[in-house]
Every structure is written in structure tokens, then in C-alpha cells.
């Protein structure tokens, strides 16, 4: 590959033009080649002004409440936020079904934060090729993922992704070797949900999709 080809590949990657083998190649270079990552950065700097001058648009006040609930530690949550959240959710349910999943996740998070832990039942087992398993247990409102006989390569973490039909993978948590992960679970009748675990650099995948190999995957059965 000539220097120009290499540089153009970085531009193509930023634009999102690549598919299949070419995309895999660019993603592998992003992980392994600091020079390529720097070229990608340069292309983002060159191209992002296209969109940085898009007119501003103030989001509805409720949106910050949703983000605050999803990010703030339970003990620090201000009273009133949850009430406003519910009022807003009721409105959103009337508006359309596209956001029902998020609403359910927030409901589950709310109940999770207010419910003491309890024994769970297994709803999935994500097996990897080396005989290890991620056991997924569900309590009333939470999901606990426990790695069994899983060894992660040095310097890598495991990232858990929720896969729903017709949706992009959703990153739901990062855990180190030997750790288990507790998270809220949407109580939904949606079928076809599955979970996948990918190997990622510390801190998780830099972008919105998995970058490392998928080491385990499996369907989940909700109550």
C-alpha cells in the first residue's frame, strides 16, 4: 500500500465508506498502528468542521434528567428528578414506540437502585471456545454477569454488549479479569435479545461498536 493509499484509507474510515474486509483492515490498523490512528485523527480534524457549524438546537430539559439518573451514584440523586423523569416518560410513551426500550431500561434502573440484592436465576450462559463461560443471572430487577474460567489477555478488558434485532450493539459494561458485573435489566417482553462479550483495550471500545474479537455470545431469556 502506498503512503497515499494508507492516508486515503484513514479518510475513508472516518467517512464511513468502508465495508467488509476493508473495514476490518482499517479497524485492525486503528488498534495496532498508532501512525494510522494519528492519520484518522487528522481526517477527523479536517472533516468535522462540516458538521460543527450545524445550527444549535436546545434539547428538552427532561433529557438532562435522564442522563443524570443514568450517570449519578444512587446516593447523590436529588429528589424530584425521578418524579420529573416519570412525567416525561409518560409523555414519551404517547409520542412513539422508538424510545420505549430506553424508558424501560430507565425504569429498571430506578427499581434496581431501590431494591436490595437477592438471589438470581440463570438466564443465559455465554460460552467461549476455551471452555470458559459467562453466567448471566437475573434477579427481580438486575442482571449479574459472572465469568467462570475466563482468562483475559494482559492489558485487555471484557466489554458486554446487548444485541437487539435491528439495533446497533449497545455497550453495557466493562469488566476486568475475574470481576463480575452488576447491571439493571429492562423488564421487557422483547424477544430475540442476546449478549456478546468482546475483548477491548482498557476502558472499553473507543467507538460505539466492538473493536476486539467477540469471545462469547448467547441469547437471553427474560422472565
Amino acid at each position: 500500500m502506498t503512503e497515499d493509499d494508507f492516508n486515503a484509507l484513514a479518510g475513508e474510515y472516518v467517512l464511513g465508506l468502508l465495508e467488509g474486509a476493508a473495514l476490518n483492515e482499517a479497524e485492525a490498523l486503528m488498534r495496532a498502528d498508532a501512525g494510522f490512528a494519528a492519520l484518522v485523527q487528522s481526517w477527523e480534524n479536517r472533516l468535522m468542521p462540516l458538521i460543527e457549524t450545524t445550527p444549535d438546537f436546545v434539547p428538552p430539559p427532561l433529557l438532562w434528567d435522564r442522563i443524570a439518573v443514568a450517570t449519578r451514584p444512587a446516593t447523590a440523586r436529588a429528589p424530584g428528578v425521578v418524579q420529573r423523569l416519570f412525567a416525561g416518560l409518560a409523555q414519551r410513551f404517547r409520542i412513539g414506540g422508538a424510545t420505549v426500550g430506553v424508558a424501560l431500561a430507565l425504569l429498571a434502573l430506578f427499581f434496581f437502585l431501590h431494591t436490595p440484592p437477592e438471589a438470581g436465576r440463570q438466564i443465559a450462559a455465554l460460552r467461549n471456545r476455551d471452555g470458559g463461560t459467562f453466567i448471566v443471572e437475573q434477579t427481580k430487577t438486575a442482571m449479574i454477569i459472572v465469568p467462570r474460567n475466563i482468562t483475559l489477555p494482559a492489558g485487555r478488558v471484557a466489554e458486554l454488549w446487548l444485541l437487539a434485532p435491528h439495533h446497533a450493539p449497545q455497550a453495557i459494561g466493562v469488566f476486568q479479569s475475574g470481576q463480575s458485573l452488576n447491571m439493571a435489566l429492562p423488564k421487557t417482553s422483547a424477544s430475540g435479545l442476546s449478549l456478546a462479550v468482546s475483548l477491548e483495550p482498557p476502558g472499553g471500545a473507543p467507538g460505539p461498536t466492538p473493536t476486539g474479537p467477540i469471545i462469547a455470545e448467547g441469547a437471553i431469556t427474560l422472565l
Binding site: L15, M48, E52, T53, F57, A68, A70, T71, A98, P208
Partner: protein, 186 residues
């Protein structure tokens, strides 16, 4: 760069550093400062308010979890870093939703649109320069680049849309990108 822009840049960068330490007040401040811009980007790409709201929420959850990955030493400004996350998430949502419901007419107009006055001088200058350089390209290449940027169209989709062999589209865009680089870096 004007002084105000330099201060704003440094301030947002410092804010991200505090978010990386799980400082929730810093996240709230960052939201106040940048949510209108990022929501504008999400709405622009998705043309669907409810979806744009969902994506904006995802963007701030990503920022909350990954602010530590922002590295000002790489020469990228905080707002560019945030805008790239918003664009990537919005494009992912767009691709997941459909294979083509994209407001390309709007995308095609961007080259003729001068930035509005309420941006920092630096951002406005970079946008004007990019716009000038894009208009110096083969028009088909410039259009393809904008359609990919705003609509998430891949080479295959662009070739089909333009009724052009895939290889022709690839070499057209590749030449365009290299010429764009020369123009912008000169």
C-alpha cells in the same frame, strides 16, 4: 484563533478531564455548554427528534464512561472530539434504522452554506476553508464525500445511487480525498 475561542477550548478540555475523574458536576457543566450543539448534530443526521434525543443521551453516557480517552495532546479540540462521537452514534442509529432514509438533499447543500455567525472565529474559518476546498473537487467526488459524511453511505451504496461501477466510485472519492488533504493542509 481569537482569545475567547482559545479559552473556551481549554475550558472544555479541562472539563472533560474532570469528567474522567467521575466528577458529576463537570458532566452537568459540559452538558450545559455542548448539548445544544451536539443535539443539533444528532437532529441534522437523524431528522427525527425522538431518535436524536436517545442518541444524545447515549453520547453523554459514552462521554461519562470514556472521557479519559480524550487526549488534547493529539491536537484535537474537545468540541471536535464530542462532535465526532455524536456523529458516529447518530450514523449508527441511522444505519440500524434503515438503508437509505437520508436527507441527502440537505447534505448536498452544505458546500454552498457559509457558517452562521455564532461560532468561534476558528470554527467558522475552518468550515469556510473546507467548503472552499470541497468546491474545488470534482463535483461527483464532493457530493459523495458529503453523502457519506452526513448520511453514512458506504462505497457500495454511493456507487448504486450514482449508477457508477464500484471501482470508479472508489477511485473518484480517493482522488478527491487526497486533493482535499492537499488543499486543506497547504
Amino acid at each position: 484563533m481569537d482569545d475567547a475561542a482559545a479559552i473556551a477550548r481549554a475550558e472544555l478540555g479541562a472539563c472533560l478531564a474532570r469528567v474522567a475523574l467521575a466528577d458529576h458536576a463537570a458532566l452537568e457543566y459540559l452538558y450545559k455548554r455542548t448539548s445544544a450543539k451536539l443535539f443539533g448534530i444528532c437532529k441534522r443526521i437523524l431528522s427525527d427528534r425522538a431518535a436524536a434525543e436517545d442518541v444524545l443521551q447515549e453520547v453523554f453516557l459514552i462521554v461519562w464512561n470514556r472521557a479519559g480517552q480524550f487526549d488534547p495532546a493529539r491536537g484535537v479540540s474537545a468540541i471536535t472530539w464530542l462532535a465526532a462521537i455524536a456523529r458516529n452514534r447518530a450514523l449508527d442509529r441511522l444505519r440500524a434504522r434503515s438503508q437509505g432514509a437520508v436527507s441527502l438533499d440537505e447534505a448536498a447543500q452544505i458546500a454552498d452554506t457559509r457558517p452562521l455567525a455564532d461560532y468561534s472565529m476558528e470554527t467558522a474559518e475552518r468550515a469556510t476553508r473546507l467548503s472552499d476546498c470541497l468546491s474545488g473537487l470534482d463535483e461527483r467526488a464532493a457530493t459523495a464525500i458529503k453523502q457519506a459524511f452526513f448520511g453514512g453511505l458506504t462505497y457500495q451504496m454511493l456507487a448504486t445511487r450514482a449508477d457508477m461501477p464500484l471501482a470508479t466510485m472508489k477511485s473518484l472519492v480517493r482522488r478527491g480525498l487526497l486533493r482535499l488533504r492537499t488543499c486543506l493542509d497547504s
